[in-house]
Every structure is written in C-alpha cells, then in structure tokens.
Amino acid sequence: MLEQSYYDVTDGIIEQYGKKASSLIPVMQDIQAKYRYLPGELLTYVARQIGVTEAKAYSVATFYENFSFEPKGKYIIKVCDGTACHVKKSIPVLEALYSELGLSKKKKTTDDMLFTVETVSCLGACGLAPTMTINDEVYPKMTPEKAVAVIRELRGDSK
C-alpha cells in the first residue's frame, strides 16, 4: 500500500494536465521523475482518474523503456547502443558496467539503489561515440575502463 502522499502528489500532477486520455504520458513522466519509478498503484489510479483503461495505461507504460515499475537507482546510467555507438564498441562499455555493478539485462538496478543501467537507442551525440549519460550528464568517448572509473568515483562520492 502506498502512502496517501503519493496519491496527493499524483492528484496535483493530474490537475496540471487535465483529466483526459491525452494526459496519460506526461502524467506518468512526472510521476516517474518525482519517484524515479512509476508505482503500479499510481498507474491504476491515474488510468481511473483520466478515464483510460488500466490495460491501456499498462500498454503505454510498458511500450516506453523510460517507465519502470521498479524503483530506479540514484544514478541512472543510459548507455547508448545506437548504430554509431554500437560500431564504436558500446557493448564492451555496457558489459564492463554490468560486471562492475553485478547487473544484467534482467536486473537493472543495484540492491543498494545507487545505480540503474539502461540502454538507449540513440542519444543524438554520435560524434562523441560511444557515449553514455548519468542523470542526463553526458560522458563522451567511453571505454570500459573509463566507465568503471566513473562508477568508482560516484560510489566514493556517495559514501
């Protein structure tokens, strides 16, 4: 059971966009931004409030990689695996991150809720390939070693 405050926050967000079907994505985005995930209960609540079926809301939420029903970590790392980054060896970067953090394609967030590793299809920074972002800050021309170093640094910071 979520605390009442979650519903109150959601009511505020819904009010901002209006109780209509087209508010679905922006409302879910704001909830995701606020809590770093989209709690399932709120998806159900939003669907009912704006008048779309729960199944439709679930369909939209699962279509976009950005929405997550699991809480995401403090640092959300998006490794670009678009064509340019892929040919410039983005996969070794991803694998280095997975191995450093004990994550996988299935397990995306560390147990200490510090890191979430995702892939994205293109960050639009092909000149900097292979690239990744951490909480929207761009890290250009990555190598597996550089990626691991960044992680260790962040980990040190947060300790």
């Binding site: 399932g40 998806l43 159900t44 009912r48 008048g51 079926t53 729960e54 199944a55 439709k56 809301a57 679930y58 369909s59 699962t62 279509f63 029903f69």
Partner: protein, 898 residues
C-alpha cells in the same frame, strides 16, 4: 460518387468508402486478419494489401484503410500483391509454431487457411521464437501468446465492442504480448469471461476449452436459437456433435449484434446434458416420503384425478397454476389454457409477479402498455443521454450492458441512479447513489427541478397527456433539498441530472428491478413514465421508458396471459366481451372472476383456500421472499404437481413431478425484453422418457375433461395469433423466413412495431400518476439497523438450476456473499472475507462479507443464487398494492461476526 475499377470490374461508391468495402460490394474477397467490420481499421496485419494504379503511379496499400479515389485501377490478386501477402505470412510464421495437429484452432484458423492458399508452408526467416507462458487460468478459455500474431482483434473487441478493456498490447517489438494490466492471469483480471475475444481470434492463440471436445469438421449441425438466460434475446447457434451440444457460436441477432455474455456462450447447455436431469415421472410415496418412478399413464391419471377431486370438493378457485417464464410462448399459452379451461379458474400467474409485474401494471395504467417502449439498438445507438435507474445491465443484461458501454465510448452521457457503485457508475457523468426505496422521491425531485426551470415540454403535455396539473402540485413539495435528505444525495447533483435529462434531445430511461421490487414498485414505475412524459421523451427514437425484463421469456409469459387478470395479449378477464370471445374460441364456459396473484396464493394456501398447485418450472423456495413462509405454504397444500428438469428445492415438496424438456429439445418462440418474438429450435433429442411440456398439458386437459387436440408448436402459435390481436401477424413460418417481429404485429403483412406510442399512447392520453413518496415497509431500527438489498450477479441466473450445472461458472462464483460498507464492517470488527451472520425478523443465514465502498453506510447487498446463505430467508414479503410484487430491495437486517 467515386468511380474505380477493381480486378477489371467497374465500381461506383460513395466518397470515403474503403477499397475493402468497395471490393466486397462487387463480390471480391480480400484476405484480412486484423480487420473487424464496423470498427476503425487497425491496419496492422498488412494482409489486405492491394495494388493501386492511378495517373501513372502505382503503389501497394492496405484495402481496409485506403479509400477509393476517382480513377483508381485496383488489382487484388496481382503478382506484387501475392508476393506481399506471401511475405506477410512468411514473417508471421517466423514467430509462430506450425504444429497445427495439437492446436485447438486447427480447422478454424485463418493463418492456416491463408498459408495453405498462398502456398507458404514454412518460414524463410528461421530464428528465435517467443516463449511466453500460457495463461490457462480462465475456466472457459486459454491464451497461448506463442500462437498470437498480434492482430489486436481481441484487444479491439474487448475495448471497443465489449467495452470492458481488460486486455491490451504490452511491451514492444519482439516482446510484445497481449496482456492484462501487470500481466496478472486473466482469471484475476477485470475480464468478464464473455469469450467475445476468443470468437474474434483468427488463430489458436485464444481458444475455448470447449474446442477440445470437437474439431470444426466433426460438427453434425448448428442450430440457430435464442439464449435461455436473460431477456436480451441473444441469438446463437448450438453446435451439435454426436447428438450432444458441445459449444455455442454467436449469431448476428438484432439485439446482440454478434455478441454473447459468459452465461450465454458458456453456461447455456451443460444443464441440458446434466446427469441430474429428471427423465421419468416421479410420484411421492406418502408413507416413505420418497419419490418413486412411475409410468406416464399412472402419473397423468393421478394428476388429473386429484385436481378434479379438489375442484369438485373445494371449487375451481382452490386450484392454481404458475407458468414458467423460461419456457417458450407456446408452452405458456397451453399452461394458462389448462388453468382456465380444465381447472376453470383464473388463478394463473408467472414469475413476472416477483420481478416486473410492477412494470406491466404501472405502464399499462399510465401509457396503456406494460412493455419496453423502444428497441435495444435504438436506446443504445441514438441517445445523447441515458438515464439508468435501478439497473445493473453489465451483470443482469450483459449484452445490453456492452451496448451501453459502446454508447458511453461514443460520448453519450450517462446518469446512473443506483444505491451501489455498479461499474457503469464509474463512467457516469452523474451518479445518484440513492437510499434504497426512495425512487418516487427522486423522480418527484427531478420533476420539481424540470418544472421550476421551465424545461418541461408543454406542447407534448397539452396534446398527449392528462393529469399534469395534479402532478405539478404534488412535486412542488419535492425541493432538491428535501429530496436530497430523503435519498441521501446532493441536491446539486439532482439539479444537474434533471437538466441533463430534460435538455437532451434523445434520452431513454432504462430501468430494472431497483425500481419495481418495492412495496411501492408500481408507483416507482409510473414515476418513470411521469418523468418521460414531462419532457416529451416518449413515442420517438432514442427515448422512451424501458424496463429491462428479467427472464428470457418473462415478457412472453405476460403476453401469453399467464396473469390472473389477463387473457393473452392483456385482454382483461374483467371485460365480459373478452370472456365471451375466449368462450367462443375455446368452446368452454369460462370463470369470469379475475384470479389470485402468485404472491397471494401462498397466504391463501396457508389459510386453506388454495388446495392444489401446478408449478411449471419455478423454484419459489429459492426465489420468493421469506423462504420459511413459502415452505409453510407448500406444506399446507393438498396436492402439488411440478413440470421440472431437475430435483429443485421446491420440487422436493411436490406430490408428482413430470419431467419436461429444456429449450434445446423443443420448438417454439421466446419474446425478448424489446417485444421481439424469436425462434427457439430443437437441437438435440429428449433424454429418457421426458416429454415436451405442451404435450403434458394437453394430456392433462384431456384427462380433466377439456378436449384439447394435439398441436405442434407452430400450430399453437397460429392459435395464439387467432385470439391475440397484438400477435395476429406472428407465425413460425414468418420467423423461419428470417423476419424479426416486435409486437404489436396485428396482421400477416404488418412489419411489427419497433417503437411504441408514436403519435398516440396505447391508452389514448398518457396519464401522470400522482405519486407521493412512501417509505419502504420495513425500515432499519435499533435491532435491525442495516438495509439489505438483493440482486443477481453476472455469472448466474436466479435459482442457478441451469447456470449451476456449468462448473466454470461455479468456479468463478460459487458461494454466497454479502457486500458491506467498510464503516459498518469496522464497527463490528469484520474484515473482507470474514464469515458473518445476517438476521432479519424472518430468518437468519451465514455468508461471507465483501467489505468496501460499493454500498453506502447502513446498507448491504446480497445475491440470492446460492443455497449456502440465500438472502430470501431474510427478505420481506410486503407487497405492492397494485402489482402484488414483493419488496426484495429493502428489508432490515442485523449483521454480526459469525
């Protein structure tokens, strides 16, 4: 008009016509997988690709979504088109197993058919295939995502046609899957198990578990008939293999438009082949109290001689008969003829007495005819606003409910007037969550606002009605504030509802037992017609006063004269001319005294005035209020005979049980809620020694001294037509020729009457009945502080005698429960799922609490289907003064933790 050429055939079509529609109009078939007629094209399967040439260019496009343009030259079978379709099938097979032998869809799979037609026997894109778990949770069907081609027909059917929206496409790309929210099993989702998605699936992905019993090519015959559950009158085929019904298939009937609900699709034939069917006449051994098998001769002789003896000893009015509202018109007609001609009494009634007798009586008084004024399609497709009063169609009339949900999706506004948060209330523009038993106050409040704000239709009132001044005077007192207090609603909501209803161009009132089953039920009904007349919403499209009748043929049971005061077609017993007419037609001196209502027969039996009772297919111990009182009455009777399919609770009190036959074993007609007479057809042979009920009645009539020749059901309908003006033009021959007739249909060339009271009320002038609010007969007090309402749920029909024989329905809902408000539950320490003891002044039962906000504080609700805690041990037999209908919807109870 637009001109084009398709496969060399010139076509002329209206602007906006799709290529698929244009091709169909000249008999050219284009293959489709995702297309659903009547919906916006999905355009996802790409199977309907055609080649279009125009002004020198040529392209491939989907026929389902591309509109015909002037000068188009369209090829539906060109090389390019064939190559494209082969490509589509090749890609589909890249992620679809082809082990068709073990697939339930084998033989009814469009993918299989097209692959065969286009010569695609395996994919050229070999590789990984999805491996999702199969969802086998639903008792009636299975979803195997690995056989799914993602055409979205199921999703579009569930969302846009059924209006439930239980499923949608989840995930993306290769991981795409048709899913419930959060992937919960279907059984735990909001799915209503109607199976319309299964019918829509072009492959074996969604398959009915019934399909395990047969392959399409093994089907012996498909018999078009009418569903035996509610009065929507859905048309479907019974699928017969080796002399047994193995499945159903929806037909495109006028009231169901190809849809079915869970009861119709899955719960309408198991009972036919149930091993519990009675197959021999049974006579109770007076000494042992046990039933013993008897021959028909013995049983019929005993029945006739005992009834004759009672008639001789106590007079004809000591006999009574109840007709069966689930049986065809022809059976009911013969039953009432038996009572009138052989018993020589008018003590004949049917179970409308306990459901919609208030509608029959009330609307006859105010409008002149006690039936739904407008057709189902009309009141769901045409209106701007629907006012739904005391009706939960999504459960009680599910296919009507689906059509109302479609209306809501189209933008039709909806006002729900109901004490419970029924599902439609969630979609309502206004929900008036009334205190049970306050309908008259609500209606008077609506009229107060309408008159106060000058929204009434004075022209209509002046030209077509009488009694306006009186009602105007009465409703003056019913200010929204006063009504708000009586009904526990917000006065402002009442004002809004009144404006919304009055200002709508087209707005029907659709109501059900929440209006009728009160000690003031008839006045509640007349309040509905008062509201409609006040704003001129009668006698025209998309309007009217529309009682959704309960049983499949309860409309017919009333039409056929199974009423103590009415011969067939509501010709009054009290009218000597009518008596003379029927005496001539039936060649028999008739009893001129109107008979006793079914609900008054019980006290009369206890008083010793009624001695012999013939019950045709009713189970009053389960269905009538105050069970203890019904048992006492049955025990007081000297002789009870029943025509039954099963050993019901009431049947155990019979002296003789005669095994009749089910709807699937006889010919006849049912009349649905919209007065539409539809055929019932024999699909399978009769089990054991059971006999058609009409023949049983005829044998008893002859034995009791009234000579009645054997007639086929078609001949009986001809006799009905000859004595019933409103059925004058109805015959099996016309119905079999494909006509669908709504009475009044007075002559052979009459097309039937979809909308009643056009231009003139059946009564002449419509009458505003001066109704004052009177509280329910039993109100909560200190000892019994909670109001109990009763009703039906989606998965069962009343006594469960039929639906209870379908294991899947029992698996979904098989036990009694009581809905409680969370505050009331908290106060006595009861949690969701706890056992509770419920008692009233008449009895007590134990049930399981469902705690929530569905009912208001101080109120509770129970279904009466389940023997483990039947609400009718508690309900109040207080009767309405006009229709003698009992107050099922309000009694006072005490709830304790068990």
């Amino acid at each position: 008009m637009i001109h084009a050429v398709i496969d060399g055939i010139p076509v002329e079509v209206e602007k906006g016509t799709t290529i698929l529609q244009a091709a169909e109009s000249v008999g050219i078939k284009i293959p489709t997988l995702c297309y659903i007629k009547g919906l916006m094209p999905d355009g996802s399967c790409r199977m309907c690709m055609v080649e279009i040439e125009n002004r020198g260019w040529s392209k491939l496009d989907t026929a389902c979504s591309a509109h015909v343009s002037e000068g188009d030259v369209i090829q539906t079978k060109s090389e390019k088109v064939i190559a494209s379709r082969r490509g589509v099938l090749d890609l589909l097979l890249s992620n679809h197993k082809t082990d068709c032998f073990s697939c339930a869809g084998n033989g009814s799979c469009k993918l299989q058919d097209y692959c065969y037609e286009y010569g695609v026997d395996k994919t050229s894109y070999e590789g990984e295939m999805t491996e999702f778990p199969v969802d086998d949770s639903n008792p009636f069907f299975t979803y195997d995502p690995n056989l799914c081609i993602l055409c979205h027909r199921c999703v579009n059917t569930c969302n846009k046609i059924v209006g439930r929206g239980a499923i949608d496409t989840a995930e993306r790309g290769f991981n795409s899957i048709i899913s419930t929210p959060f992937g919960v099993p279907l059984r735990e989702s909001s799915c209503e198990s109607c199976g319309n998605c299964v019918a829509a699936c072009p492959t074996g992905a969604l398959s009915s578990k019934r399909q395990k019993e047969y392959r399409p090519w093994q089907v012996e015959k498909k018999v078009l008939t009418t569903c035996p559950h509610c009065a929507t009158g859905c048309q479907y085929y019974l699928i017969v293999k080796d002399g047994k019904i193995v499945d159903t298939q929806a037909a495109d009937g006028p009231s169901n438009k190809g849809l079915l609900c869970v009861k119709g699709r899955s719960g309408s034939f198991d009972f036919v082949h149930s091993p519990e069917r009675l197959t021999h006449p049974l006579i109770k051994n007076k000494e042992t109290g046990e039933f013993e098998q008897a021959s028909w001769e013995e049983a019929l002789d005993l029945v006739a001689s005992k009834f004759l003896e009672i008639k001789k000893k106590y007079g004809p009015d000591a006999l009574a008969g109840f007709a069966c509202s689930r049986s065809p018109n022809e059976d009911i007609y013969m039953m009432q003829k038996l009572v009138r001609c052989a018993f020589e009494t008018n003590n004949v009634d049917n179970c409308a007495r306990v459901c919609h007798s208030a509608s029959v009586a009330g609307l006859a008084m105010t409008l002149g005819s006690g039936a739904m004024t407008n057709p189902i399609a009309d009141i769901t497709q045409k209106p701007d606003v629907i006012m739904l009063v005391g009706s939960n169609p999504e459960e009680a009339h599910p296919v009507v409910g689906m059509q109302i949900r479609q209306a809501v999706q189209r933008g039709c506004k909806i006002i729900v007037v109901d004490p419970r948060d029924i599902d439609l209330a969630k979609h309502a523009d206004i929900h008036l969550k009334l205190r049970p038993g306050t309908n008259v106050a609500f209606a008077n409040g609506m009229m107060h606002v309408i008159i106060e704000e000058g929204l009434q239709d004075m022209k209509f009132i002046e030209e077509r009605t009488e009694g306006y001044e009186k009602i105007k005077e009465i409703v003056k007192e019913y200010t929204p504030e006063k009504v708000g207090e009586i009904c526990h609603i917000d006065p402002e909501d009442l004002r809004k509802a009144a404006r919304m209803y009055a200002k709508a161009d087209k707005a029907p009132i659709i109501y059900c037992l929440g209006v009728t089953e009160h000690s003031t039920g008839t006045e509640g009904v007349m309040s509905m017609s008062n509201m409609a007349m006040l704003v001129g919403k009668l006698g025209r499209e998309g309007c009217g006063v529309n009682p959704l009748r309960g049983q499949n043929n309860v409309q017919g049971a009333c039409d056929m004269g199974a009423l103590p005061g009415d011969f067939p077609g509501y010709q009054k017993v009290a009218n000597p001319e009518v008596i003379a007419k029927f005496e001539k037609a039936w060649g028999k001196k008739l009893n001129p005294n109107p008979g006793t209502h079914a609900t008054d027969i019980w006290p009369a039996a206890i008083r010793g005035e009624v001695k012999g009772l013939y019950i045709f297919g009713e189970d009053p111990i389960v269905t009538d209020p105050d069970t203890a009182h019904i048992i006492k009455a049955l025990e007081s009777l000297e002789f009870v005979v029943m025509n039954e399919l099963f050993m019901t609770e009431t049947a155990q009190y019979a002296d003789v049980i005669l095994p009749g036959v089910s709807y699937a074993e006889k010919e006849g007609t049912f009349t649905n809620t919209e007065r539409r007479v539809q055929r019932v057809r024999k699909a399978v042979t009769i089990p054991g020694e059971a006999r058609p009920d009409t023949e049983i009645f005829i044998d008893i009539m002859n034995r009791m001294g009234y000579p009645q020749p054997y007639l086929t059901p078609a001949q009986i309908m001809d006799e009905i037509a000859s004595v019933t003006p409103s059925f004058g033009g109805i015959s099996h021959a016309r119905l079999d020729a494909g006509e669908t007739l709504q009475w009044p249909c007075p002559s052979k060339d009459h097309p039937g009457t979809p909308i009643m009271h056009v231009g003139r009320f059946a009564r002449g002038l419509g009458w505003f009945y001066p109704a004052e609010y009177v509280p329910s007969a039993e109100l909560p007090d200190e000892e019994y502080p909670i109001i109990l309402m009763t009703g039906r749920i989606l998965y069962h029909y009343t006594t469960r005698a039929m639906t209870g024989k379908t294991p899947g329905l029992m698996e979904i809902e098989g036990k009694s429960f009581i809905e409680m408000n969370y505050k009331d539950a908290d106060a006595i320490g009861v949690k969701n799922g706890d056992k509770v003891k419920i008692s009233s002044r008449r009895g007590q039962i134990v049930s399981t609490a469902r705690v929530g906000r569905k009912v208001s504080q101080g109120e509770s609700w129970m279904p009466f289907h389940f023997p483990d805690g039947n609400a009718n041990w508690l309900t109040n037999p207080a009767l309405d003064k006009y229709a003698r209908i009992p107050e099922y919807k309000v009694c006072a109870v005490k709830i304790e933790k068990a």
